[in-house]
């Protein structure tokens, strides 16, 4: 085999540095306002509804529902901000 050395200009690029560590947590679930964010893929709502039923039964949470309408499109930031301000925590579905 040839011993020639070739320098390759790397065609890939790094993504931005990710955050690490733990996300924010609730101190307790009892009575919390839990947002359920549905990406509108088929049956996402079925999953979230079951989660909501269990959390309501076990912790008396208040449920706030948000439907993203188009799965492959980011939700409008104004709507998301409003949704976030109404919630203490969020459960979302990323599925297919």
């Amino acid at each position: 085999m040839s011993q020639q050395r070739t320098t390759v200009l790397n065609p890939t690029a790094s993504p931005p540095t990710p955050l690490a560590g733990l996300g924010a947590r609730l101190s307790k679930l009892d009575g919390a306002r839990i947002g359920l964010l549905d990406n509108n893929k088929p049956n996402a709502v079925a999953l979230l509804k079951r989660v909501g039923e269990r959390l309501t039964s076990d912790y008396g949470v208040e449920l706030i529902y948000y439907n993203k309408k188009v799965p492959s499109l980011e939700a409008p930031s104004v709507e998301l901000d409003q949704f976030a301000s109404d919630c203490d925590a969020v459960v979302l579905a990323i599925d297919d």
Binding site: N10, L47, L48, S72, D95, D96
Partner: protein
């Protein structure tokens, strides 16, 4: 949600968990805990899907919303976050893509690039310093200038990186301005690049070149223009795919979640046949000047042939086109969006000779390319996502569901050579086709 420091848990199926983690990292939201459920969630009865929330899944959700058991103190949590952030930064620094050396001939170097996942699977031209410098010389910007971050993973599209991928694709330096314009165009918010790159839908990047530059680059706008055999068509399309893969980070099965994909993802670029168009060029119809050169980018399904050897007038040809478009399996049923109808010159002449302008063609298709609601199963109604469901609209539509919101969404142009064939190109539709002027005359200062 995580960016707002709101406690958030993501439910994700086993087949999408790696993908979700990478996207969350790119969006600076990797602190979001993910809980896996079985795959698939879709395509089963709702009660079957709901049962995927098993006791252990539910417990994981609850645990993810509450403080970790071994880490009750906020200050301890903050310290851990700081430490992990530092570790992540070091890791990111160490994994910064750097140029690398390979010992051996061109075949050995290409093999190493295959191994590193940098190719499209086909042999590439090795991007050596000399070749990339030569490619950069064809650009209209300096090598370290970035055209932005390419979704989904957000790598910076510097001219240098773009040129490296263009070399791999087999481009010539004079192709660079087209690639620069297309790279900018796909980053328009309305294009929805992150959706296009990560969807299960088989959309490829289609680049259509318009105006004088197509002739300058000897591009094919005539017979077989969507096929093989022309260097500029083949390599510009391929360069765009490599940019989207290597800078954007869209890898099949990982971040590019296309269920099956399409051969059009290797390369798809052609030029508009303006010389044989009976109508003004597409760029002029969009408001660009006759002297402008432009590139149109679209997240497109593969081309669908329209064969009509029998019709002798506009209504005949357009009826065949409308009937070809009215199928159930495309995204337009759910979200409208843009279509391309690429007329072969002979079909275009037949239609225009009947007195039909571009606007007449669009109006005809708007009225006639509609799908009778009786062809749908009820489940399809629920998938009409951007319409907000069909049920309330069927009466107004006379039970005939449109494929677009307005006639202009049918993008009409001419390409190809002799023969009685045209092409319908459906799109991803969750996003809007973009057309951008190509900057050709930049004079860079030599320092």
């Amino acid at each position: 949600m995580a960016a707002q420091n709101l406690p958030t848990v993501g439910l994700v199926t086993t087949e999408f968990s790696d993908f979700a983690r990478q996207l969350l990292e790119q969006q600076q939201a990797s602190v979001t805990p993910l809980v896996e459920v079985g795959h698939p969630v879709g395509g089963v009865a709702p009660e079957v899907a709901a049962d995927l929330i098993t006791e252990s899944v539910y417990e994981a959700i609850v645990a993810s919303l509450l403080p970790a058991k071994n880490n009750e103190s906020d200050s301890a949590g903050a310290a851990e976050r700081t430490e992990q952030t530092r570790a992540a930064e070091v890791q990111a620094e160490e994994s910064e893509p750097v140029d690398f050396e390979v010992t051996g001939d061109e075949v050995a170097v290409t093999a190493e690039m295959h191994r590193r996942g940098m190719t499209d699977g086909l042999p590439v031209v090795v991007p050596t310093r000399e070749r990339v410098d030569e490619m950069c010389a064809g650009a209209t910007r300096y090598p370290l200038e970035s055209l932005g971050s390419i979704a989904p993973l957000g790598g910076a599209a510097t001219i240098l990186k773009i040129a490296s991928n263009a070399v791999m694709a087999g481009c010539q330096p004079e192709h660079m301005p087209v690639i620069e314009a297309a790279t900018e165009a796909i980053q328009e918010d309305e294009f929805n690049l992150v959706g296009m790159q990560t969807t299960t839908h088989p959309c490829a990047l289609l680049s259509i070149v318009h105006g004088p530059v197509a002739e300058t680059l000897s591009m094919n706008s005539g017979a077989g223009c969507m096929g093989h055999g022309n260097q500029a068509n083949a390599t510009i399309g391929r360069a765009m795919r490599l940019v989207m893969q290597n800078i954007g980070g869209a890898h099949p099965g990982k971040t590019d979640k296309a269920t099956q994909g399409t051969p059009a993802k290797y390369s798809w670029c052609f030029a508009e046949n303006e010389a044989e168009s009976p109508w003004p060029s597409l760029r002029e119809s969009l408001g660009f000047h006759a002297s402008d050169s432009c590139v149109t980018v679209a997240a497109a399904e593969g081309p669908h042939n329209i064969n009509d050897h029998g019709s002798t007038d506009a209504e005949g040809v357009l009826n065949t086109i409308a009937q070809t478009m009215t199928t159930l399996g495309n995204n337009h049923i759910y979200v409208a969006g843009d279509h391309f109808v690429v007329f072969g010159p002979e079909h275009a002449k037949t239609v225009a000779d009947s007195g039909f302008s571009r606007e007449d063609v669009q109006a005809y298709l708007y009225e006639n390319a509609r799908i009778d609601a009786s062809r749908f199963t009820p489940g399809k109604y629920d998938e009409a996502t951007s319409w907000g469901g069909y049920a309330d609209r069927l009466e107004a539509w006379g039970n005939r569901i449109p494929l677009v919101r307005e006639p202009e969404s049918f993008r009409i142009l001419v390409a190809g050579g002799p023969g009685k064939h045209s092409t319908w190109i459906p799109t991803f539709a969750v996003g809007t086709t973009q057309t951008r002027a190509i900057q050709l005359d930049a004079e860079l200062c030599v320092l």
